[in-house]
C-alpha cells in the first residue's frame, strides 16, 4: 500500500487536517506559514513511513518536493531582511513554481498511465524478438579502427566528473534530534555560530534536516536568527543571551 502523501493526517499546533488542505490554506494565504511546524509535518510523514514494511520511494519523492517548496516559502517569510526584491519573494510565484513542477511530473504520470493502458490493449501482440530459427547467421564486419580511440575513451572515463549534485536523490537522512543537540551545544558553548559554516560539506538532505532543527529551535524560543540579506549566511545566537 502506498503512503498517500496528500491525505497524510497532521496534528500540529496551528493546523489539524490532511496535508493537501494545509497546502491549500498556505497557497490561499489563509494560514501563515511562519506558524506551521514543518518539522512536525516531517515527523508525521516519517512515522507514517515507519508503519510500512517497504520504503515507498514514490511517496518519499512527492513528499520531499512538497516539503522543500514549503521550506523555501517559509524561509523567505522568516528572513524578510531589509528591502528585498518583491518579485523574488512573491509567495504566489513560488507557489506557481511548485505547481508547475508538480504539473510536469503529473504529465509524465499521465503518460505512464497511458502506456499502462496501452500494454493492456496490446497484450495480444506476440512476435519473435530474436533471429528466426533457420535464418542465416548475421555477419557484422567492422572497419579498421584507430587504437587512439580506445585511449581517448579510457581518458574520458578517468576524467573528473562534472559537478552534478545528486544530493537531492539521497533519501536517507539523519534524525532532527542530532542537529537539535548539536546546535544547542554550540549556542551553549560559543553563544553564537554561523549556520552556513556548520552545514558546509553536509549532503543536501542533511542540510535540510539541519535547517528543520534550526527552525524548531527558533519556534521553541531557544535561539534567535539573523541574516544580513536573503541568501546571506545565517547567524544563530542564544535567545536567552539576546534578551
Amino acid at each position: 500500500m502506498a503512503v498517500a502523501v496528500r491525505e497524510l493526517p497532521l496534528d500540529l499546533d496551528a493546523f489539524e487536517g490532511p496535508f493537501d488542505l494545509l497546502l491549500t490554506l498556505v497557497l490561499r494565504e489563509e494560514l501563515d506559514l511562519a506558524d506551521v511546524d514543518v518539522a512536525g509535518v516531517v515527523l508525521a510523514f516519517v512515522e507514517r513511513l515507519e508503519e510500512r514494511a517497504a520504503l515507498d520511494l514514490e511517496a518519499c519523492g512527492e513528499f520531499l518536493v512538497l516539503v522543500a517548496a514549503l521550506l523555501e516559502l517559509k524561509a523567505r517569510g522568516l528572513f524578510p531582511g531589509e528591502e528585498v526584491d518583491l518579485e523574488d519573494l512573491d509567495p504566489e510565484e513560488a507557489a506557481g513554481e511548485l505547481a508547475e513542477r508538480l504539473a510536469a511530473y503529473r504529465r509524465f504520470r499521465a503518460a505512464a498511465g497511458w502506456l499502462e493502458e496501452r500494454l493492456e490493449t496490446e497484450s495480444e501482440r506476440f512476435f519473435r524478438t530474436g533471429p528466426a530459427p533457420l535464418a542465416p547467421v548475421p555477419l557484422r564486419p567492422l572497419a579498421a579502427q584507430d587504437p587512439a580511440a580506445l585511449a581517448a575513451a579510457l581518458r574520458a572515463l578517468a576524467a573528473e566528473p562534472p559537478d552534478v549534485s545528486l544530493g537531492h536523490l539521497v533519501l536517507s537522512y539523519p534524525p532532527v534530534s542530532r542537529f537539535l543537540d548539536r546546535f544547542r551545544a554550540l549556542v551553549r558553548g560559543r553563544g553564537r555560530f554561523s549556520f552556513d559554516r556548520e552545514v558546509t560539506g553536509l549532503t543536501r538532505p542533511e542540510q535540510i534536516v539541519a535547517f528543520l532543527a534550526l527552525l524548531e529551535l527558533r519556534k521553541r524560543g531557544e535561539v534567535a536568527l539573523g541574516q544580513a540579506a536573503p541568501f546571506e549566511p545565517i547567524t544563530v545566537w542564544s535567545a536567552a543571551s539576546a534578551s
Partner: protein, 198 residues
C-alpha cells in the same frame, strides 16, 4: 484465384514472395529502404507489394499478420492466436512493469535521449534501478553520453515501439493532452478544500 496469377508470373508477386522471405527471417522490423535494398528493387514497387501482402496477412485471414511498427514492417502472430502463443512463450518484456518503471519509460520515450539525473529531477526519485530494469528488458538502451565524461543518456528501443504497438514515436499522445485535468494543481487543491468545507 492466386494460383491463376502465378501461371503467368506476375513480377509484383515474385517481389512479394521475396518480401515474405525477408520478413520471416528478420529479427526486427524492416524499414522500407532496408526491404528495397535487400530485394534490389525500388521502394515504390516494394510498397505496392507490401500492400498486397498486408491484404493477405491480416487478422481473420491468416495466423501471420503484417504490420507497420517501429518505423518498419514486421510479421507478428494474429490476435486470435494469443492464447496459444502465451502457452508457447513467456513475455518477460511486458510482465510486471512497476509504476516507477512505467513513469521512467514515459520520461525516456518523450524526452530521450535523457540521462538518469535528468529523469530523477522530473520524477523526484532516483531512477537508477528503474532504468537498469528497462535496459535489461530491452525497452531502453544507451544513447551516448551527455558530453565527455558526462552522464550516460538513454532512449527507447524499437522493441519498445513493438511491444506497445506504435508505428513510430510520433504515435505517442501529446503530453499536453494527457495533462488535461492535471493542469492546474491550485484549482484542484482549492476544490478539495471547498469540498471539505474548510
Amino acid at each position: 484465384m492466386e494460383r491463376s496469377l502465378r501461371l503467368v508470373e506476375n513480377p509484383v508477386d515474385r517481389l512479394a514472395r521475396t518480401l515474405e522471405a525477408l520478413l520471416v527471417i528478420a529479427a526486427k522490423p524492416l524499414a522500407l529502404e532496408e526491404l528495397a535494398a535487400a530485394a534490389a528493387d525500388d521502394a515504390e514497387r516494394v510498397e505496392t507489394a507490401l500492400a498486397l501482402l498486408a491484404g493477405r496477412y491480416r487478422e481473420g485471414r491468416s495466423g501471420i499478420v503484417l504490420e507497420r511498427v517501429a518505423g518498419g514492417y514486421a510479421f507478428r502472430a494474429a490476435r486470435e492466436a494469443a492464447d496459444a502463443c502465451a502457452r508457447l512463450v513467456e513475455r518477460p518484456v511486458q510482465r510486471n512493469l512497476s509504476q516507477a518503471a512505467l513513469e521512467t519509460l514515459a520520461v525516456v520515450a518523450y524526452l530521450g535521449p535523457v540521462s538518469r539525473p535528468e529523469i530523477a529531477r522530473i520524477r523526484g526519485v532516483a531512477a537508477d534501478s528503474a532504468v537498469a530494469g528497462l535496459v535489461e528488458r530491452g525497452l531502453v538502451a544507451e544513447a551516448g553520453r551527455a558530453g565527455e565524461g558526462g552522464a550516460v543518456r538513454y532512449e527507447t528501443t524499437p522493441l519498445f515501439e513493438r511491444v506497445f504497438g506504435l508505428a513510430d514515436r510520433s504515435e505517442l499522445p501529446e503530453l499536453e493532452e494527457l495533462a488535461g485535468e492535471a493542469g492546474d494543481l491550485r484549482a484542484r487543491l482549492e476544490d478539495v478544500a471547498a469540498r471539505r468545507g474548510a
